[in-house]
């Protein structure tokens, strides 16, 4: 009896308090600006601010100014939930750009689904997320690996060793490697899953030598990767065994890795700073002007830049920032001339068709692009997830 009264009063109070009038269009951003993951978070946030500045400088969106509500999730998962709710309940955002790890996406996705607000996840990841409100602008594991494994088997040979972190990104990537290896007549001769806390790679290096692979797919995360690559090179294996990766360089590991260890490493990603296109030149010019040239731009940052522009294009097309028409516009297959080539939203899967680049590390802490695969489709996601025909689908597909 008491509770009903309370709930009643709450409903009354909240209805009075909800702010209805806003002149600007607000978008939310939750990134790890502090804490262990800020290597990525700061760049993602920088890219978002740059994109918003770019749009506002070009006359805003539908005549309104874009305003960013930014939150620092401090590399803590509980902060994601908290700020996601805050953004919905207090700040009345029209779209959300957030998250780096898969767990951060999974933590907040239901909140935006319930609030019916488009949510853009801009990071390379294991793939398979399927949700009406969620849009992924990073590349998925299968998207990158499909071209990388084929290329690497041709270049190095058919024996593959997989070295991956022991969580979803690693295990799912390992699945795809196995699959594409089989498709290309190669085999996985060994794999090792590592805890995220590992800093000492000698056990792995022993196992790699025992398996005698032609190349290693190295997927550790962040600073761990540089440690592995240094030890790999210092053990004298670099000249005998190739190293390819889908996430090397995604957190600027190439800056940390010494030139001896970094030269000749193969990475495949949706973006490298050395991509040669007028869009990229313009983009990097803006970036350097605002943030300096000290730290190279990572693919996650470009994914955010793309996400904001794609959303903005959808708003323009829908003529409003309201969620339902914007999502419909996004599903119509919007394209954008991005720094990394033309990217296109797949209406069914909410993932991006985009270029995948294969690049080789040089001795200047940078990359030379050696091959470009244009317009690679997120085929696994397209196959599993069709939100146009089945809009109620909510699932995280895993192979």
């Amino acid at each position: 009896m008491n509770k009903n009264k309370i709930i009643g009063s709450i409903l009354l109070a909240s209805s009075l308090l909800v702010t209805t009038a806003h002149a600007d269009i607000k978008i939310g951003a939750i990134f790890d600006l502090t804490g262990g993951l800020n290597i990525y978070g700061i760049q993602q946030n920088n890219a978002l601010n740059l994109a918003v500045e770019n749009i506002n400088n070009n006359g805003g969106l539908l005549g309104d100014t874009l305003v960013v509500k930014s939150y620092d999730s401090q590399s803590e998962l509980s902060k994601y939930t908290q700020y996601a709710k805050t953004s919905v309940l207090r700040d009345g955002i029209s779209a959300m750009f957030a998250g780096l790890t898969s767990s951060s996406r999974e933590a907040i996705r239901p909140i935006f689904r319930k609030a019916n607000i488009p949510y853009f996840y801009s990071s390379l990841y294991e793939g398979g997320a399927c949700d009406k409100q969620t849009f992924v602008t990073g590349s998925s594991a299968s998207q990158q690996l499909s071209v990388l494994i084929k290329w690497a088997v041709e270049k190095y040979g058919p024996r593959i060793y997989v070295m991956a972190p022991d969580y979803n990104f690693g295990t799912i990537s390992a699945y795809w490697i196995k699959k594409y290896a089989a498709d290309n007549g190669a085999e996985v001769v060994g794999q090792d899953f590592l805890a995220l806390t590992v800093t000492d790679y000698s056990p792995t290096l022993q196992k790699i030598q025992a398996a005698k692979p032609d190349f290693v797919v190295a997927l550790p995360v962040g600073a761990n990767q540089t440690g592995f690559l240094e030890q790999f090179a210092a053990t004298g294996l670099k000249d005998k065994i190739g190293v390819v990766s889908t996430n090397y360089g995604s957190g600027n590991q190439q800056v940390v890795v010494s030139p001896e260890a970094g030269k000749g490493l193969i990475a495949s990603q949706g973006y490298f700073m050395s991509v040669n296109s007028p869009e990229n030149t313009e983009f990097t010019k803006k970036w350097v002007a605002k943030y300096g040239s000290e730290i190279p731009i990572v693919s996650g940052a470009v994914d955010v830049w793309n996400a904001v522009h794609i959303w903005a294009a959808a708003v323009k097309e829908a003529g409003t920032a309201e969620s339902t028409p914007v999502i419909a516009a996004l599903e119509s297959g919007i394209s954008f001339k991005a720094p990394n080539g033309i990217v296109t939203i797949e209406g069914g899967s909410h993932h991006l068709r985009q270029n995948i680049y294969i690049a080789e590390g040089n001795d200047q802490h940078g990359f030379n692009i050696i091959k470009t695969f244009e317009d690679v489709a997120p085929s696994y996601e397209n196959e599993k997830c069709d939100l146009v025909s089945n809009p109620k689908l909510v699932k995280h597909f895993t192979p």
């Binding site: 502090t34 804490g35 262990g36 800020n38 290597i39 700061i42 022991d166 090792d192 899953f193 590592l194 805890a195 806390t197 590992v198 800093t199 000492d200 000698s202 056990p203 792995t204 290096l205 022993q206 196992k207 030598q209 025992a210 600073a223 540089t226 440690g227 240094e230 030890q231 090179a233 210092a234 053990t235 004298g236 294996l237 957190g251 600027n252 800056v255 940390v256 890795v257 010494s258 030139p259 001896e260 260890a261 000290e294 730290i295 802490h365």
Partner: protein, 288 residues
């Protein structure tokens, strides 16, 4: 299993244990000798690494950067002891919380000063061969470094007047004062030495573990468990615990998975604490 594989696993596990030991010795001095749980130990390691990195970036040779790292961390350690630790002796859990706060502050300061991405200095491209297997030379060098550190700390603590004063101040603080030892200053110095050792570890491990603001975190938990398992005979106990836990977990990782290695580490720690509630060395008759 082939013999050369086995041998290379053993040698590399020994080097893993040595790396753990190098990161632990400073903590062993501070916790084992002073009874202070310094949760900021990892951040002192990080400070050492960044000091060394900065010096090499200024163009000085890497070897020269190591003493600089030691001096910097010792100085910071001394300041921390005077401002915070000295007020909390005997309040072991309060010290733990205060040093945790300190670790957050140091971490964030490192982010502000150095940013999140700094170039590494790379590992010397030298390796040795056992049968069909290559081993990187620098991590193997760490075995020598760990032994050298052990010998150094042993000599410092047993053969110098300071070392004797430090141990006396900690074993019987009142009697130490009653025979004229200024235990306040001695304790400041001992804490600084512990931090200096952490700084040394950070500098010497820099080629293996690149400097990042969060690098200390990877070490502090395992180092800490190692020291607790070691018990009162700090130095020998830590060496043994590091070989047993670090080496054992590395061997487990070699034959199984790295997660199994981690689980081995924590599980064995729990079992040892169950069997030896005061640490493995509780009943030994050794000085250190």
């Amino acid at each position: 299993m082939e013999l050369d594989y086995l041998a290379s696993v053993l040698v590399s596990s020994l080097s893993s244990a040595s790396i753990l030991l190098i990161a632990t010795i400073g903590l062993a001095v501070v916790f084992g000798l002073m009874g202070v749980i310094n949760l900021a130990h990892g951040e002192f390691l990080m400070i050492g690494a960044y000091s060394a990195l900065t010096v090499t970036q200024l163009g000085l040779p890497y070897v020269l950067s190591i003493p600089v790292a030691v001096l910097v961390t010792m100085a910071i350690g001394a300041i921390v002891e005077v401002l915070i630790i000295s007020r909390l002796y005997g309040r072991i859990f309060d010290t733990m919380l205060a040093t945790w706060g300190l670790s957050m502050v140091l971490y964030q300061l490192a982010v502000l000063i150095f940013g999140t991405v700094s170039p590494g200095i790379g590992m010397p491209q030298y390796n040795i061969q056992i049968g069909d297997y290559n081993l990187a030379g620098y991590p193997l060098l760490m075995i020598v470094v760990a032994i050298a550190m052990l010998v150094f700390v042993y000599l410092l603590m047993t053969k110098t007047i300071y070392g004797m004063k430090a141990r006396a101040s900690i074993q019987e603080p009142e009697m130490a004062q009653a025979i004229g030892i200024d235990s306040t200053r001695t304790n400041t110095l001992t804490f600084a030495v512990g931090c200096g050792l952490a700084g040394f570890a950070g500098a010497v491990l820099l080629p293996i573990v690149p400097a990042t603001p969060s690098m200390g975190f990877a070490f502090v938990i395992k180092s800490f468990l190692t020291v607790v398992v070691a018990g009162p005979v700090t130095l020998t106990g830590s060496a043994l615990a590091a070989i047993g836990l670090g080496g054992g977990s590395s061997i487990t990782a070699s034959f199984m998975t790295s997660v199994a290695g981690d689980v081995f580490f924590f599980l064995v720690t729990a079992i040892i604490l169950w069997l030896y509630p005061l640490g493995i060395s509780a009943k030994w008759r050794h000085k250190l």
